[in-house]
């Protein structure tokens, strides 16, 4: 199975950088978190989702996106399965959403992978580099959660 981890957000806006920072840390520890399965892991870190991600998603079997969320307690996570968008309209030129990209993976590149999003609760979106203490504290558990989603038999 091929795995793709996409961490996105603005690393200059405090916890909005949770996606990229956590994805980078996961990549550094992938071998210990996923064992042999880490060999087929690709990690992409971006400030925002872009249309060409659809091609990369179509090459994967299981995709996890990780992003900060304002509506969760700092450090808490929420995992959900992404349903490919039925109309897949390109709503915003600067904010392609996971469901649109999942749909495009299928309609343009012939394969819709299993897509999950892990939202990480943020304490602050102020101009700042680095994570807030509560989010930083939660990172080891979040890394295990990502590995758990990737390695689940059936999600």
């Amino acid at each position: 199975m091929n795995y793709l981890l996409i961490g996105y957000g603005n690393a200059l806006r405090g916890d909005d950088g949770a996606g990229p920072l956590i994805a980078e840390r996961f990549e550094a520890e992938a071998a210990s978190l996923m064992g042999e399965a880490a060999r087929t892991l690709k990690v992409v870190v971006l400030p925002q989702l872009v249309p060409e991600l659809a091609e990369g998603m179509a090459l994967a079997d299981r995709v996890v996106l990780i992003d900060a969320a304002h509506n969760l307690k700092p450090g808490k996570t929420a995992v959900r399965r992404v349903t490919p968008a039925a109309d897949a309209s390109e709503k915003r030129i600067h904010a392609y959403d996971p469901s649109t990209l999942a749909a495009w993976a299928g309609s343009l590149y012939g394969k819709t992978p299993e897509v999950h999003i892990i939202a990480v609760g943020a304490a602050s979106f102020e101009f700042h580099e680095g994570l807030s203490p509560k989010v930083e504290e939660a990172v080891p558990d979040i890394l295990k959660e990502i590995a758990g989603v990737f390695l689940a038999e059936e999600v």
Partner: protein, 476 residues
């Protein structure tokens, strides 16, 4: 007088509103593009050290930050009084070409192709990239691929795709990795195939848009762009040239520090975007255009074989100075061909792998101007510093700003032909927006809805009575 309002304008960068003013008989009397944001970069950078300016100015835009990095760095080069190592200048041009490719690909395939390929009268629900994917999925994929290639060039060279820190005063801060050079060269043939395919497609359908070609900003104007001493188009460096509608060069090889002798800026009460004009002809007669169409008109040649062949064909069809702003779309694709050829030329240059890529110095002059061709047109950064190198004053003439007068005139022309004041027809109003899109304006880096227009139109009587209204809001 009655007004029709389009707010916001869709499938462009930034926020804008268009008002169409009708007379009492319902005919279009005037039309205006209102830019509704103020950014403040020229003021809040005062007091900052000059070497921060490229990084600060890159934040003006998330789509074309490279252009601002280059113009700003060139202004800083002038403050330092340095001559760049040749490899450093070449590498700046290479990353510039990456940006041209990705920006023009975005403009054509994502922003304009839905109108061109699905038709301006198509239903809004399909006149977007989804409709494009359904009609021609291969074209949609190619658009994504081409834009991706341009973005990758930037990322491979500069590490960050958006707001990279690689371009600095004096040059760039790292030489070219040979492996990156090979990677870029390997991607050029596929990118060229995609571009030539898109050009062929556009040429096959442009005849269906005879009415648009006739009425989309089809008027005499000056055209301005950067050229080398022999008249070859250059995106990165060169002197400014102004050519008139008859093909006469009226000002040539203007060095950056003399721009203010030729370009004035007028202020209007109904928009935050100033109106640059050609000073010797005054305001508003000194209207000029910049960007792909204007560059093709201003320059003598591209200096690369495929682009020059396309240019010859273009001029054979539309004359030595093409007038219609609809042809920005065509010119944009030819510029991608040039960018790919120039990329190959630069990457094969003997000294491109040289380790010396940056000149270093402190402040040696208290004033510096940097000019570069952004995807949307000529971009000017002008700084003044004190003896410690702190910014005391800055003036920016943004690429799209140069086109402000032309965009307004184009909107009026389109409105007068396509808008019937008593009937708010979808296709007519889209044509008003489409003429703005032809210029590919970058009003700021803001989100907006594509395809499904979040549009509210109101027809108001002279007495302020609401006569008619159209509302359409996207699903968010």
């Amino acid at each position: 007088m009655r007004d029709i309002v389009i707010d916001p304008v869709t499938r462009i960068e930034g926020h804008a509103k268009i008002t169409i003013h009708l007379d009492d008989k319902g005919a279009v009397e005037d039309a205006r593009l209102h830019v509704t944001q103020v950014r403040g970069f020229e003021k809040f950078c005062e007091g900052r050290p000059f070497y921060e300016m490229p990084s600060l100015m890159a934040r003006i835009c998330g789509i074309c930050p490279i252009s601002h990095l280059l113009a700003s760095s060139k202004a800083c080069d002038a403050l330092m009084g340095v001559r760049l190592p040749d490899a450093g200048a070449k590498l700046r041009y290479v990353v510039h070409l990456g940006q041209m490719i990705q920006s023009h690909a975005l403009s054509f395939f994502h922003l304009s192709a839905p109108d061109l390929l699905l038709g301006m009268d198509a239903e809004p629900a399909v006149r977007n990239v989804v409709g494009l994917i359904q009609k021609d999925p291969e074209l949609a994929k190619q658009g994504i691929q081409l834009r991706k290639f341009g973005q990758q060039i930037i990322e491979w060279l500069a590490r960050e795709r958006v707001h990279p820190s690689w371009i600095v005063p004096g040059g760039v801060n790292r030489p070219l990795d040979p492996e990156v050079r090979e990677r870029i060269l390997a991607g050029i043939p596929e990118a060229m195939k995609i571009t030539e395919g898109a050009l062929k497609l556009l040429k096959s359908i442009v005849g269906e848009f005879a009415e648009e070609v006739e009425h989309f900003g089809n008027f005499d104007s000056l055209h301005m762009g950067l050229v080398e001493p022999d008249g070859t188009l250059n995106f990165y460096d060169g002197g400014m040239r102004f050519r008139d509608a008859k093909g006469k060069i009226i000002a040539d090889h203007i060095p950056p520090e003399a721009y203010a002798d030729y370009i004035g800026e007028a202020v209007v009460p109904w928009s935050y975007l100033k109106m640059p004009y050609y000073k010797p002809q005054g305001y508003p007669d000194g209207l000029y255009r910049v960007g792909p169409l204007a560059r093709l008109n201003a320059a003598d040649k591209f200096g690369t074989p495929k682009a020059d062949k396309e240019l010859k064909e273009f001029r054979k069809t539309y004359g030595p100075v093409a007038k219609s702003s609809f042809l920005f779309h065509y010119a944009r694709l030819i510029e991608i061909v040039f960018s790919l050829e120039k990329l190959e030329q630069l990457l094969n240059a003997e000294n491109i792998l040289d380790k010396r890529v940056r000149a270093e110095a402190g402040v040696n002059f208290n004033e510096g101007v940097g000019i570069s061709e952004a995807p949307r047109g000529t971009l000017i950064h002008h700084y003044k510093v004190d003896d410690d190198g702190l910014i005391t004053w800055a003036n920016l003439i943004i690429a799209t700003g140069n086109n402000n007068l032309a965009i307004n005139k184009s909107i009026k022309q389109v409105s007068q032909h396509f808008v019937d004041g008593d009937n708010l027809k979808e296709g007519a109003l889209n044509r008003v927006e489409a003429v703005v899109r032809a210029y590919d304006p970058c009003l700021s880096c803001s989100t907006h809805a594509l395809g499904q227009m979040p549009m509210q139109l109101q027809l108001v009587s002279p007495a302020g009575e609401l006569l008619d209204e159209m509302n359409r809001m996207p699903d968010v």
